[in-house]
Amino acid sequence: MDLILQQMVNAVSLGGIYALLALGLAVVFSIVRLINFAHGEVMTVAGYGIWIALASAWPVAAAVALGLAVAILAAVSMERVAFRAMRGADVTTLLITSFAVSEIIKVLFQNGISARPVPVVLPAWMSGTLDLGPVRIGVIALISILTVALSLVLLSVFLRRTVMGLAMRAAAEDFPVVRLMGLRANHVIALAFAVSGILAGVAAVLWVAQRGSVDPLMGAAPVLKAFIATVLGGLGSLTGAVIGGFVVGAVEVCLQGFLPQSLLPYREAISLALIIAVLVWRPDGLWPAEQTSRS
């Protein structure tokens, strides 16, 4: 029982990070129909930002702030430099552009900094543990869960209570009409990238805190999972992305934790098979983007 509880904590903690990344992908996709595979590199950029700050003996809070700032900058400049020129291109072209951006950034880090991971050391109190009833939870895992929860609440408030938040939701439905309301297309899109950047930045902070190193490929694996999560949740659906993120995290942890030893090497295949099964059952994902209309 304790074991199951403990693995549930693991699943929430991991799923939360996937959810943040998946949300970032979904926010951008819903507006510009771009599946941004370079999203992982936004995370990587943030990771290096944190590394540089900590290596320069900045306090943790300042390092986190720098990580978030460079993530936003990275995401927005990606849009400005690479994707704006491709605006309106078909999904495949955009996808390939994002692959190219992703590769370029990886190589820049590999050649500019190092192909090897660089260590990121956080203060000792962050690697402690707390006993909550039968569950022993790492301080970082706890911070991670709380941060994800807070981020989701803040994003939801932003999307519901501010004009730009409403504009982003509206743009996902009908971008030309948003422009008819006098909202600049470039602003709305840049904001979508900024939001995705900040989400990737938060994910990077949590990721780096849990893993202790930053390398040029850092963002690639989690963003692949996040992409699976967005498809599972329903491409373009924000709620779906969050649900998908948690499901992917839970599947990953459960298979790792409870598969018999002999099947462990196959767990990636098993998890993908499960996800494909879900998609066969619900081709539009678990929680597709809303089609609210009376027909």
Binding site: R160, V163, L166, A167, R169, A170, E173, D174, P176, V177, V178, R179, L180, M181, G182, L183, R184, A185, E290, Q291, T292, S293, R294
Partner: protein
């Protein structure tokens, strides 16, 4: 208020508008009539900046051709699009708020939302309902209210009565007449020719992207062509 000279809109090989002239004085209502596919929606889209067009478009004496829709919206052009195109997943109140997005102080937006709810009481009742779940008539009220939220100088209406019950159609024309009475300049695209000509000052009949007929509404209404084709007389 609006002067259009030799307007041409094409979609690839399709020439939707082939050299159209329009002029609309401040406070006047121009009815743009014509059969399906005549190029009415394309004309409005070009004026609102949604599609690229050749020719000259002037709004309030300033060149407006080639400007993006957001800039035109800030200059006082509001379009109620064909099929309404509400943000279905957003609530009534959220749709209205976005309509007033050009007004930066939030207090001003709230004041305007309240004014719209007073003008269209049904919207106040449905404030927190998703726009996509409103009835057709309610949706048309919301689409109008959303456009009015910006406080436009030039209102472009694309078939506001389309698909509505007769009672509702009358209500829509009453509202449009009311807006004209308040001094708003309106370009009205409609299929309901008699009711449009009844409230219009000027009228243009489009056919194959060209003006087949134009002049004061009463003259157009009296023309043989219109009487035969649209007024069943």
């Amino acid at each position: 208020m609006l002067a259009v000279r030799d307007l041409k809109v094409r979609y690839g090989a399709v020439e939707a508008v082939r050299g159209l002239d329009l002029s609309l004085a401040r406070g006047q209502l121009l009815a743009l009539l014509g059969a399906n596919g005549a190029g009415k929606t394309s004309t409005l889209a070009a004026i609102a900046g949604l599609v690229p067009a050749a020719g000259r478009i002037e709004i309030a004496g300033e060149t407006a051709g080639g400007l993006p829709p957001e800039t035109l919206a800030r200059r006082g052009v509001a379009l109620v699009p064909e099929g309404r195109r509400l943000f279905a997943g957003l609530t009534v109140a959220e749709n209205l708020t976005l309509g007033g997005a050009v007004h930066t102080p939030p207090a001003e937006r709230r004041r305007r939302v309240a004014a719209m709810e007073e003008r269209f009481p049904v919207l106040a009742e449905r404030r927190h309902q998703k726009a996509g779940l409103l009835s057709g008539g309610e949706q048309q009220m919301l689409a109008l209210a959303r456009a009015l939220m910006a406080g436009p100088r030039l209102l472009l209406l694309d078939e506001p009565s389309l698909g509505l019950a007769p009672q509702m159609v009358e209500r829509v024309f009453d509202i449009v007449a009311g807006l004209k009475a308040e001094g708003l300049t309106i370009l009205l695209v409609e299929q309901n020719v008699p009711m449009s000509l009844a409230i219009a000052d000027q009228a243009v009949v489009l056919a194959n992207g060209r003006a087949a007929l134009s002049g004061p509404a009463a003259e157009v209404a009296a023309s043989d062509h219109v009487r035969r084709a649209y007024l069943a007389a």
